[in-house]
Symmetry: C2
Subunit: 83 residues, 2 copies
């Protein structure tokens, strides 16, 4: 059974799903729940936890990457670099 995230994503919303996920992750980074150096849950994990498509997860991660909050390494994962 996939666990449920604390905050859920609303499929029907003015806010695109990938932005909702980016918001959730960004807050976890900013609050220190995901401090610099930690590994962001894998795409597969986020996909399952939130019940969304991988493409959508990747769009959210790309947003955070563009913001400089995380860096991604193939085969390893996505790491928080700053908050």
């Amino acid at each position: 059974m996939p666990r449920r995230p604390r905050r859920t994503i609303e499929p029907i919303s003015a806010e695109p799903v990938y932005r909702q996920l980016a918001d959730i992750l960004r807050e976890q980074i900013e609050t220190g729940e995901l401090p610099p150096g930690t590994l962001v849950p894998s795409e597969a994990t986020l996909q399952q936890e939130h019940g969304i498509a991988r493409d959508t997860v990747r769009a959210a991660i790309r947003l955070l990457r563009d913001e400089g909050l995380v860096v991604t390494t193939p085969g390893k994962g996505t790491f928080v670099v700053r908050h």
Copy 2:
């Protein structure tokens, strides 16, 4: 019949298809074949001309957008803004 572009994309290559397309478009922009102000061919056109998927076309366009070479407006298209 979709027309064939001057330069073709190699499906089997070390260079990803979307980067190959970005390179092609970037060169057309830099050489003035697609001068600032002009409309880049639509995703559907590029998709058909090169026989690649829309997602791949979009990845190429996003690259050029991140480089600041083009801007995209929903319902209008992608325009060259500088070379």
